[in-house]
């Protein structure tokens, strides 16, 4: 059994007027100790998927329409407030994209970590433990840093604090939502290395949300690709990156320039990503797909396993070249 199982999850946004579907039958499964990457362009629903896993979507704005989210066998949407507090913290830790907005600007960083410990690991809520976590995420002189406020730290340092904050409760699943997007490449490499070594050391599972296929190849075991509110492909990372089966994944990989690339021009996906509420009927990708048939405009493709561990939402997957 997987640590996290998301089954046929559909979510509506009910902000004003008619509800708008933002997630549509999302499938996700993460085993304990595994690094799972969730890739997609902006608006594909990857952050919303992650937020709904920790049940962080506000009830006033969104409504789960169908489907289940199970963490360690327990239905996340059936938990009482005490169960939810247990889930968020010891179950799921969360690292957000923008550390400068996710940290409390008027609280010393040591106090923020200590508060986390008091809530989730009360026996460990001491200065020494706070300092140890800061040290573990690579912050020098933690006793001095612990007394500083977020604005006194650089972006890379703030992201390390976010990481220390999430890890101090020792979660079984760390959700990292674009943890390095706001950082420069050399700092990104530092943070990525850190997540990877702590993941191995603590044996936790990681759900890494990114739009950068490069990161996926570096640290993930498995990858799910999202498009327009659906997961369109899932598989082992080497299979998906080297032999993508869904036409969208294949086109997306072809449109990214790589170092040492000798191609004259890049593969172009015509058109733009449709926004929620404007999703086309049938297969969501058919207006931009080079392999689309008339049937693609009317029939919803089924989510099916086409090879062991490899799932795809397309009736005409790309053939594997041998």
């Amino acid at each position: 059994m997987s640590l996290l199982e998301v089954d046929q999850l559909s979510v509506d946004l009910v902000a004003q007027g008619a509800p708008v579907r933002v997630l549509d039958r999302v499938e996700l499964a993460i085993d304990a100790g595994q690094v799972h990457a969730l890739v997609g362009e902006s608006g594909s629903g990857k952050s919303l998927t992650a937020l709904s896993v920790a049940r962080l979507l506000p009830d006033t704005l969104t409504r789960r329409v169908a489907g289940t989210v199970r963490f360690d066998g327990e239905d996340v949407y059936g938990l009482d407030p005490a169960g939810l507090r247990r889930l968020r913290g010891r179950g799921v830790g969360y690292v957000f994209q923008e550390p400068s907005t996710a940290l409390n600007p008027v609280m010393r960083i040591g106090t923020q970590i200590r508060e986390m410990l008091q809530l989730h690991r009360p026996k460990e809520a001491t200065d020494a433990v706070v300092w140890r976590w800061l040290e573990r995420v690579g912050i020098p002189s933690p006793d001095i840093r612990a007394r500083q406020y977020p604005h006194e730290l650089s972006g890379g340092m703030q992201q390390r604090v976010m990481l220390a904050l999430a890890l101090s409760a020792q979660p079984r699943l760390l959700i990292a939502d674009e943890p390095t997007t706001a950082l420069d490449v050399t700092i990104q490499a530092q943070v990525l290395d850190l997540i990877q070594s702590l993941q191995r050391e603590l044996g936790m599972a990681v759900l890494l949300i990114t739009h950068n296929f490069g990161l996926v190849g570096e640290i993930a075991d498995r990858v799910s690709v999202m498009y327009a509110g659906q997961v369109v492909e899932r598989g082992p990372v080497s299979a998906v990156l080297n032999a993508p089966r869904h036409p969208y994944t294949a086109a997306l990989l072809g449109s990214v320039p790589r170092l040492g690339d000798v191609r004259e021009s890049l593969v172009v996906i015509p058109g733009t990503v449709p926004s929620p509420g404007h999703w086309p009927g049938g297969c969501r990708f058919h207006p931009r797909c080079s392999r689309a048939t008339p049937g693609c405009a009317t029939d919803q493709p089924a989510w099916r396993e086409i090879a062991p561990e490899s799932w795809v939402r397309c009736p005409y997957p790309v053939e594997v070249q041998s």
Binding site: D184, T186, N212, G217, S238, P257, R258, I269
Partner: protein
């Protein structure tokens, strides 16, 4: 002769004013940069945030006033010009901005935005011909000429970037400074804009100064690439050789930090620490506090930016010595 020749360019900003408003320190955003761009060529400019690459680009089109140095464009020094003379000289020099949302006036139609440059330079007087020209420009960037009467909010990010490109093309420039034109775009749209820039270069013989932090995009688009760190150029050379065989330790670290699909657990040079503040740049070589091969000399002596192989220049004491020995 080169189209653009920048020599010894410095842009310093006053900082930390005292009680009388006089600066107590200077931010050396660009600190002695020299580069040249030939007609029809793309020069890529890469570096991390805060290295001064955008300031350099803005100073070249004179959106910033240089503190020192010269910017020769078509043989004329832009650094000393102002008023009508600057405006005339700048016709051949346009800019595309990073943020496709912030760089178009929301209350102007697309046609007005594109037509402004045509009017300022008095290129077309007759109304019908002007309208035709705007339609033609929109077509060149892959948009319907009918969108000229629509407003920026009606377009997606990729389409707005195309409008920005059409606006730059309106005055028939020879060089376009592109400041991170694709970094705000989605991957699939980014490829469309990259291909558009390349085909416009081929059909119009444009030169680009392409500023970006994404090394793979820069390598793909550029003929030559310059690597910037703390206001200085560290390495410059043909893009394939700089990216394939970097000489400067900073370029090496930067390249090895770029994650790539399919490549797993490569040997990486992980740099320690952050980019230092340009308010208090380190003594000697600005990279020495993070450099894995720094020696005592790097702390005291600023390395000269010199040619170490045909077409390749590096600012590093260590590279010079290795080169001389081999």
């Amino acid at each position: 002769m080169s189209l653009l020749l920048v020599e010894g360019l410095k842009v310093h900003y006053p900082a930390r004013p005292d009680w009388r408003g006089r600066p107590r320190a200077w931010v050396r955003a660009v600190d002695g940069v020299g580069l040249e761009v030939a007609a029809g060529e793309t020069l890529g400019l890469v570096g991390e945030s805060g290295c001064g690459k955008s300031t350099l680009g803005r100073a070249i089109v004179r959106l910033e006033t240089p503190t020192a140095g010269s910017i020769r464009f078509n043989g004329e020094d832009l650094a000393g010009l102002d008023g009508p003379a600057l405006r005339r000289a700048r016709r051949g020099l346009q800019m595309i901005f990073q943020d496709p949302y912030g760089s178009l006036d929301p209350r102007w139609t697309v046609g007005q935005a594109i037509g402004e440059g045509i009017d300022i330079h008095g290129l077309i007087q007759e109304h019908g011909a002007r309208r035709e020209r705007i339609g033609g420009l929109l077509q060149d960037v892959g948009l319907d000429p009918a969108v000229a009467d629509r407003y920026p909010h009606e377009f997606s990010g990729g389409q707005r970037q195309r409008i920005g490109i059409a606006r730059a093309l309106a005055v028939e420039p020879k060089l376009i400074v592109c400041d991170e034109p694709v970094s705000a775009l989605d991957v699939s749209v980014q490829a469309q804009v990259v291909n558009l820039l390349q085909s416009l270069q081929r059909s119009r013989g444009l030169a680009y100064l392409f500023i970006a932090h994404d090394l793979a995009v820069v390598e793909h688009l550029s003929h030559r690439v310059a690597v910037m760190y703390l206001g200085r150029i560290m390495e410059l050379g043909p893009s394939r050789t700089v990216c394939g065989d970097p000489l400067h330790p900073y370029t090496r670290a930067l390249l090895s930090a770029v994650p790539e699909p399919g490549v797993r657990r490569r040997e990486r040079v992980i740099l320690q620490g952050d980019v230092p503040s340009p308010l208090q740049p380190p003594s000697g070589c600005p990279f020495h506090p993070r450099c894995p091969v720094a020696v005592a000399r790097c702390r005291s002596e600023v390395p000269e930016f010199r040619e170490v192989a045909p077409g390749r220049s590096v600012a590093c004491h260590e590279v010079k010595e290795r080169f001389g020995a081999s």
